[in-house]
């Protein structure tokens, strides 16, 4: 009896979620603009809070003259920092486009600013993973 019930539970097909390509699309959206992936998945409030928090962190980093790392650096840590900052999405090239010169390492708050910039990218990486989990149905 119990076995039959277990078999019938296994036989129930899970609800079909978005396809793999769609899930990857949500992740790309989440990468380009923080919170956009959550917005597309219908989590409006979560999207708004993430958008505001991550971009506030990024703009505070810019205001403190945080450094944009280069990919062609000799130091592996700086290369990692470049990819960390790139995780924030379009905000990084947009800042360059609007005239941000990449920071002033001699400014008094520059080190804090760099930490803010890299952390904004890392937080957006966590957001991307969260979007993937939601799209997969692992999270509400």
């Amino acid at each position: 009896m119990a076995r039959k019930r277990a078999e019938s539970e296994i036989a129930v097909k899970p609800k079909a979620g978005p396809s793999r390509a769609t899930r990857i699309g949500f992740c790309v959206a989440a990468w380009t603009v923080p919170g956009l992936g959550h917005l597309l998945l219908g989590r409006r409030w979560r999207a708004l809070i993430l958008f505001c928090s991550i971009l506030a962190m990024f703009f505070l980093g810019l205001a403190m003259e945080g450094e944009f790392f280069s990919r062609q650096s000799d130091s592996y840590l700086q290369t990692l920092g470049y990819f960390g900052e790139l995780c924030v999405g379009l905000a990084m090239p947009a800042a360059g486009f609007f005239g941000y010169s990449g920071g002033d390492p001699f400014f008094v708050s520059s080190d804090y600013g760099t930490a803010f910039l890299v952390t904004a990218g890392m937080l957006n990486a966590l957001t991307i993973l969260d979007v993937y989990d939601i799209a997969l149905g692992r999270k509400p």
Binding site: I49, L50, S53, M57, A63, M64, V108, S109, T119
Partner: protein, 59 residues
Amino acid sequence: MMKISHFPAMVLFSFLVSVVFGVLGKDSPRDRLIYGAKVFGAFIGFALLLGWLMYPLPW
């Protein structure tokens, strides 16, 4: 350009990271608030504790 000292920078950093951790880490609004507050308190508390522990160090 924004000049900021250690403590306000740390509080700002902790607050923003706590908000994101709270939103991503828990599912209900109440749990998020509690978890975010805990993370924020832990950031500030450990930073102050480590600061006091390192205070006597000469370098």
